[in-house]
Symmetry: C2
Subunit: 141 residues, 2 copies
DNA sequence: TTTGTTGCAAAGGGTTTGCAGGAGA
DNA sequence: TCTCCTGCAAACCCTTTGCAACAAA
Protein backbone atom coordinates (compact mmCIF):
# COMPACT_ATOMS: atom_id res chain seq x y z
CA UNK A 1 0.00 0.00 0.00
CA UNK A 2 1.27 3.39 -0.98
CA UNK A 3 1.16 6.42 1.21
CA UNK A 4 -1.52 8.64 -0.16
CA UNK A 5 -3.99 11.06 1.24
CA UNK A 6 -7.59 10.06 1.44
CA UNK A 7 -9.68 13.26 1.23
CA UNK A 8 -12.21 12.03 3.80
CA UNK A 9 -9.53 11.08 6.27
CA UNK A 10 -7.79 14.37 5.78
CA UNK A 11 -10.95 16.30 6.61
CA UNK A 12 -11.59 14.30 9.76
CA UNK A 13 -8.02 14.69 10.85
CA UNK A 14 -7.94 18.41 10.37
CA UNK A 15 -11.29 18.76 12.12
CA UNK A 16 -9.64 17.17 15.12
CA UNK A 17 -6.76 19.60 14.93
CA UNK A 18 -4.27 17.14 13.48
CA UNK A 19 -2.18 17.59 10.41
CA UNK A 20 -3.11 15.31 7.56
CA UNK A 21 0.20 13.69 6.84
CA UNK A 22 0.41 10.84 4.33
CA UNK A 23 1.47 8.40 7.06
CA UNK A 24 -1.37 9.34 9.32
CA UNK A 25 -3.95 9.06 6.56
CA UNK A 26 -2.56 5.70 5.51
CA UNK A 27 -2.65 4.26 9.02
CA UNK A 28 -6.22 5.41 9.47
CA UNK A 29 -7.13 3.91 6.14
CA UNK A 30 -5.61 0.53 6.98
CA UNK A 31 -7.53 0.51 10.22
CA UNK A 32 -10.68 1.49 8.38
CA UNK A 33 -10.30 -1.24 5.81
CA UNK A 34 -9.77 -4.05 8.26
CA UNK A 35 -12.52 -5.87 10.08
CA UNK A 36 -10.20 -7.39 12.64
CA UNK A 37 -7.90 -6.03 15.34
CA UNK A 38 -4.50 -5.12 13.97
CA UNK A 39 -1.18 -5.04 15.72
CA UNK A 40 1.37 -2.36 14.97
CA UNK A 41 3.35 -4.97 13.10
CA UNK A 42 0.28 -5.85 10.99
CA UNK A 43 -0.09 -2.23 10.02
CA UNK A 44 3.58 -1.78 9.27
CA UNK A 45 3.52 -4.75 6.90
CA UNK A 46 0.36 -3.48 5.27
CA UNK A 47 2.10 -0.18 4.67
CA UNK A 48 5.14 -1.91 3.26
CA UNK A 49 7.68 -0.44 5.65
CA UNK A 50 6.81 3.04 4.45
CA UNK A 51 6.06 4.15 7.95
CA UNK A 52 8.19 3.76 11.03
CA UNK A 53 7.00 1.81 14.04
CA UNK A 54 7.10 4.77 16.44
CA UNK A 55 4.98 6.79 14.04
CA UNK A 56 2.38 4.05 13.95
CA UNK A 57 2.27 3.82 17.73
CA UNK A 58 1.97 7.56 18.12
CA UNK A 59 -0.81 7.89 15.58
CA UNK A 60 -2.78 4.97 16.90
CA UNK A 61 -2.63 6.53 20.33
CA UNK A 62 -4.03 9.75 18.87
CA UNK A 63 -6.85 7.83 17.23
CA UNK A 64 -7.69 6.15 20.53
CA UNK A 65 -7.67 9.56 22.22
CA UNK A 66 -10.11 10.78 19.59
CA UNK A 67 -12.38 7.79 20.18
CA UNK A 68 -11.81 6.60 16.62
CA UNK A 69 -10.20 3.36 17.68
CA UNK A 70 -9.95 1.09 20.66
CA UNK A 71 -6.89 -0.73 21.87
CA UNK A 72 -7.14 -4.30 23.04
CA UNK A 73 -4.50 -6.34 24.81
CA UNK A 74 -4.75 -10.03 24.11
CA UNK A 75 -3.32 -12.94 26.04
CA UNK A 76 -0.13 -12.57 24.02
CA UNK A 77 0.29 -9.13 25.56
CA UNK A 78 0.44 -7.50 22.17
CA UNK A 79 -1.58 -4.36 21.57
CA UNK A 80 -4.14 -4.53 18.83
CA UNK A 81 -6.32 -1.77 17.49
CA UNK A 82 -9.81 -1.76 16.05
CA UNK A 83 -11.66 1.05 14.37
CA UNK A 84 -14.73 2.05 16.36
CA UNK A 85 -17.72 3.10 14.33
CA UNK A 86 -20.03 3.74 17.25
CA UNK A 87 -19.24 6.25 19.89
CA UNK A 88 -21.19 4.86 22.83
CA UNK A 89 -20.77 1.81 24.99
CA UNK A 90 -20.39 -1.34 22.94
CA UNK A 91 -18.64 -4.65 22.82
CA UNK A 92 -16.64 -6.55 20.25
CA UNK A 93 -17.49 -9.96 18.93
CA UNK A 94 -14.58 -11.74 17.40
CA UNK A 95 -14.53 -14.83 15.21
CA UNK A 96 -12.05 -17.43 16.40
CA UNK A 97 -11.92 -18.86 12.91
CA UNK A 98 -10.99 -15.91 10.74
CA UNK A 99 -10.44 -13.14 13.26
CA UNK A 100 -13.14 -10.87 11.90
CA UNK A 101 -14.62 -8.53 14.44
CA UNK A 102 -18.00 -6.86 14.62
CA UNK A 103 -19.36 -4.35 17.06
CA UNK A 104 -22.32 -5.33 19.22
CA UNK A 105 -24.44 -2.42 20.28
CA UNK A 106 -26.63 -4.25 22.76
CA UNK A 107 -24.96 -4.77 26.10
CA UNK A 108 -25.78 -8.08 27.69
CA UNK A 109 -24.43 -7.13 31.04
CA UNK A 110 -25.90 -3.76 31.80
CA UNK A 111 -29.22 -5.13 33.06
CA UNK A 112 -27.53 -7.52 35.47
CA UNK A 113 -24.89 -5.19 36.85
CA UNK A 114 -26.55 -4.45 40.14
CA UNK A 115 -27.40 -8.08 40.73
CA UNK A 116 -23.86 -9.17 39.94
CA UNK A 117 -22.21 -7.13 42.62
CA UNK A 118 -24.88 -7.58 45.24
CA UNK A 119 -23.64 -10.79 46.88
CA UNK A 120 -20.28 -9.22 47.60
CA UNK A 121 -21.68 -5.78 48.35
CA UNK A 122 -19.90 -4.30 45.37
CA UNK A 123 -21.25 -1.45 43.33
CA UNK A 124 -20.30 -2.27 39.76
CA UNK A 125 -19.28 0.84 37.85
CA UNK A 126 -17.52 -0.45 34.78
CA UNK A 127 -17.10 -3.65 32.85
CA UNK A 128 -15.24 -5.12 29.96
CA UNK A 129 -16.75 -7.87 27.89
CA UNK A 130 -15.01 -9.72 25.09
CA UNK A 131 -17.04 -12.15 23.04
CA UNK A 132 -15.58 -14.93 20.93
CA UNK A 133 -17.33 -17.27 18.57
CA UNK A 134 -17.69 -18.27 14.95
CA UNK A 135 -18.91 -16.06 12.17
CA UNK A 136 -21.46 -17.39 9.65
CA UNK A 137 -18.77 -18.35 7.13
CA UNK A 138 -16.61 -20.19 9.64
CA UNK A 139 -19.60 -22.08 11.01
CA UNK A 140 -20.03 -23.77 7.63
CA UNK A 141 -16.55 -25.21 7.59
CA UNK B 1 8.10 -13.51 54.11
CA UNK B 2 10.37 -16.45 54.66
CA UNK B 3 10.53 -19.46 52.48
CA UNK B 4 8.90 -22.25 54.35
CA UNK B 5 6.83 -25.23 53.46
CA UNK B 6 3.15 -25.13 54.13
CA UNK B 7 2.00 -28.73 54.74
CA UNK B 8 -1.25 -28.23 52.83
CA UNK B 9 0.46 -26.72 49.84
CA UNK B 10 3.02 -29.49 49.84
CA UNK B 11 0.32 -32.14 49.70
CA UNK B 12 -1.48 -30.45 46.83
CA UNK B 13 1.73 -29.98 44.94
CA UNK B 14 2.83 -33.58 45.29
CA UNK B 15 -0.65 -34.78 44.35
CA UNK B 16 -0.16 -32.90 41.09
CA UNK B 17 3.20 -34.56 40.54
CA UNK B 18 5.25 -31.53 41.45
CA UNK B 19 8.06 -31.34 43.92
CA UNK B 20 7.25 -29.29 46.99
CA UNK B 21 10.15 -26.88 46.99
CA UNK B 22 10.20 -24.00 49.46
CA UNK B 23 9.98 -21.47 46.63
CA UNK B 24 7.01 -23.14 45.06
CA UNK B 25 5.16 -23.43 48.36
CA UNK B 26 5.88 -19.82 49.18
CA UNK B 27 4.62 -18.54 45.83
CA UNK B 28 1.45 -20.55 46.19
CA UNK B 29 1.00 -19.24 49.69
CA UNK B 30 1.41 -15.61 48.65
CA UNK B 31 -1.16 -16.14 45.94
CA UNK B 32 -3.44 -17.82 48.43
CA UNK B 33 -3.15 -15.03 50.94
CA UNK B 34 -3.90 -12.22 48.54
CA UNK B 35 -7.36 -11.15 47.52
CA UNK B 36 -6.15 -9.17 44.53
CA UNK B 37 -4.30 -9.99 41.31
CA UNK B 38 -0.56 -10.01 41.82
CA UNK B 39 2.17 -9.31 39.34
CA UNK B 40 5.40 -11.26 39.37
CA UNK B 41 7.05 -8.20 40.81
CA UNK B 42 4.47 -8.07 43.61
CA UNK B 43 5.22 -11.66 44.51
CA UNK B 44 8.95 -11.16 44.37
CA UNK B 45 8.72 -8.26 46.79
CA UNK B 46 6.45 -10.22 49.07
CA UNK B 47 9.03 -12.97 49.14
CA UNK B 48 11.78 -10.51 49.89
CA UNK B 49 13.97 -11.33 46.91
CA UNK B 50 14.31 -14.88 48.13
CA UNK B 51 13.03 -16.22 44.86
CA UNK B 52 14.21 -15.40 41.39
CA UNK B 53 11.93 -13.87 38.80
CA UNK B 54 12.19 -16.77 36.34
CA UNK B 55 11.27 -19.20 39.09
CA UNK B 56 8.16 -17.21 39.88
CA UNK B 57 7.12 -17.09 36.24
CA UNK B 58 7.67 -20.80 35.79
CA UNK B 59 5.74 -21.76 38.88
CA UNK B 60 2.85 -19.44 38.18
CA UNK B 61 2.58 -21.01 34.76
CA UNK B 62 2.38 -24.43 36.38
CA UNK B 63 -0.36 -23.22 38.70
CA UNK B 64 -2.33 -21.88 35.76
CA UNK B 65 -1.89 -25.21 33.98
CA UNK B 66 -3.25 -26.93 37.06
CA UNK B 67 -6.25 -24.62 37.14
CA UNK B 68 -5.16 -23.24 40.50
CA UNK B 69 -4.70 -19.73 39.21
CA UNK B 70 -5.73 -17.51 36.37
CA UNK B 71 -3.59 -15.04 34.53
CA UNK B 72 -4.93 -11.65 33.56
CA UNK B 73 -3.39 -9.08 31.30
CA UNK B 74 -4.34 -5.52 32.16
CA UNK B 75 -4.15 -2.42 30.06
CA UNK B 76 -0.59 -1.94 31.30
CA UNK B 77 0.30 -5.21 29.58
CA UNK B 78 1.59 -6.67 32.80
CA UNK B 79 0.59 -10.20 33.74
CA UNK B 80 -1.21 -10.60 36.99
CA UNK B 81 -2.27 -13.79 38.68
CA UNK B 82 -5.20 -14.61 40.92
CA UNK B 83 -5.86 -17.74 42.88
CA UNK B 84 -8.98 -19.51 41.63
CA UNK B 85 -11.05 -21.16 44.31
CA UNK B 86 -13.80 -22.39 42.04
CA UNK B 87 -13.11 -24.68 39.18
CA UNK B 88 -16.01 -23.84 36.89
CA UNK B 89 -16.86 -20.82 34.82
CA UNK B 90 -16.74 -17.62 36.84
CA UNK B 91 -15.85 -13.97 36.64
CA UNK B 92 -13.79 -11.61 38.72
CA UNK B 93 -15.08 -8.48 40.32
CA UNK B 94 -12.38 -6.01 41.18
CA UNK B 95 -12.55 -2.95 43.40
CA UNK B 96 -11.11 0.13 41.77
CA UNK B 97 -10.49 1.64 45.18
CA UNK B 98 -8.41 -0.96 46.95
CA UNK B 99 -7.83 -3.58 44.27
CA UNK B 100 -9.53 -6.39 46.15
CA UNK B 101 -10.98 -9.06 43.95
CA UNK B 102 -13.80 -11.51 44.52
CA UNK B 103 -15.07 -14.31 42.38
CA UNK B 104 -18.59 -14.11 41.03
CA UNK B 105 -20.18 -17.45 40.40
CA UNK B 106 -23.26 -16.23 38.59
CA UNK B 107 -22.61 -15.41 34.99
CA UNK B 108 -24.53 -12.43 33.72
CA UNK B 109 -23.84 -13.14 30.12
CA UNK B 110 -24.61 -16.80 29.62
CA UNK B 111 -28.35 -16.27 29.23
CA UNK B 112 -27.89 -13.64 26.55
CA UNK B 113 -25.17 -15.31 24.54
CA UNK B 114 -27.32 -16.56 21.70
CA UNK B 115 -29.11 -13.23 21.41
CA UNK B 116 -25.84 -11.31 21.39
CA UNK B 117 -24.43 -13.01 18.36
CA UNK B 118 -27.67 -13.26 16.45
CA UNK B 119 -27.66 -9.90 14.64
CA UNK B 120 -24.28 -10.67 13.10
CA UNK B 121 -24.98 -14.37 12.63
CA UNK B 122 -22.24 -15.29 15.06
CA UNK B 123 -22.36 -18.31 17.29
CA UNK B 124 -20.81 -17.17 20.55
CA UNK B 125 -18.69 -19.89 22.11
CA UNK B 126 -16.61 -18.14 24.69
CA UNK B 127 -16.50 -14.87 26.53
CA UNK B 128 -14.42 -12.93 28.96
CA UNK B 129 -16.01 -10.54 31.40
CA UNK B 130 -14.15 -8.27 33.75
CA UNK B 131 -16.15 -6.33 36.31
CA UNK B 132 -14.93 -3.23 38.10
CA UNK B 133 -16.56 -1.31 40.89
CA UNK B 134 -16.28 -0.34 44.51
CA UNK B 135 -16.25 -2.72 47.43
CA UNK B 136 -18.37 -1.97 50.52
CA UNK B 137 -15.46 -0.36 52.37
CA UNK B 138 -14.45 1.89 49.50
CA UNK B 139 -18.03 3.02 48.92
CA UNK B 140 -18.02 4.63 52.35
CA UNK B 141 -15.03 6.85 51.64
C1' DT C 1 7.36 30.71 9.08
C1' DT C 2 5.55 28.19 12.66
C1' DT C 3 4.26 24.21 14.70
C1' DG C 4 3.39 19.63 14.65
C1' DT C 5 5.23 15.13 12.70
C1' DT C 6 8.43 11.78 11.20
C1' DG C 7 12.40 8.66 11.43
C1' DC C 8 16.22 6.80 13.47
C1' DA C 9 18.46 4.93 17.16
C1' DA C 10 18.58 3.84 21.62
C1' DA C 11 16.54 3.01 25.97
C1' DG C 12 13.09 0.71 28.76
C1' DG C 13 10.79 -3.00 30.93
C1' DG C 14 8.36 -7.24 31.34
C1' DT C 15 8.92 -12.06 30.02
C1' DT C 16 11.43 -16.16 28.41
C1' DT C 17 15.34 -19.30 27.65
C1' DG C 18 19.84 -21.89 28.30
C1' DC C 19 22.54 -24.02 31.21
C1' DA C 20 25.12 -25.41 35.23
C1' DG C 21 24.61 -26.18 40.05
C1' DG C 22 21.53 -27.74 43.71
C1' DA C 23 17.88 -30.01 46.25
C1' DG C 24 13.53 -32.94 46.76
C1' DA C 25 11.94 -37.75 46.82
C1' DT D 1 20.84 -41.51 42.92
C1' DC D 2 17.87 -39.56 39.66
C1' DT D 3 15.03 -36.23 38.23
C1' DC D 4 13.21 -31.99 38.68
C1' DC D 5 13.91 -27.20 40.16
C1' DT D 6 16.37 -22.95 40.89
C1' DG D 7 19.24 -19.00 39.87
C1' DC D 8 21.93 -16.28 37.05
C1' DA D 9 22.70 -14.05 32.92
C1' DA D 10 21.51 -13.11 28.66
C1' DA D 11 18.31 -12.97 25.05
C1' DC D 12 13.81 -11.44 23.31
C1' DC D 13 10.46 -8.49 21.87
C1' DC D 14 7.08 -5.01 22.14
C1' DT D 15 6.73 -0.30 23.28
C1' DT D 16 8.38 4.34 24.37
C1' DT D 17 11.48 8.36 24.30
C1' DG D 18 14.95 11.90 22.64
C1' DC D 19 16.29 14.57 19.18
C1' DA D 20 17.31 16.49 14.75
C1' DA D 21 15.40 16.89 10.12
C1' DC D 22 11.22 17.66 7.64
C1' DA D 23 6.68 18.95 5.96
C1' DA D 24 1.73 20.60 6.53
C1' DA D 25 -0.77 24.80 7.02
Amino acid sequence: MRLKKNPDSAISLRAAGMKATPQRCAILHVLDSSDRPLSVEDIRQELGDESGVPTIYRNLQSFVDQGWAESLVGVDQVMRFVRCHSTGHHHHLQCEGCGRTVEVQTCAVEASLAALGQPAGFRVTRHQLALYGLCPECQHQ
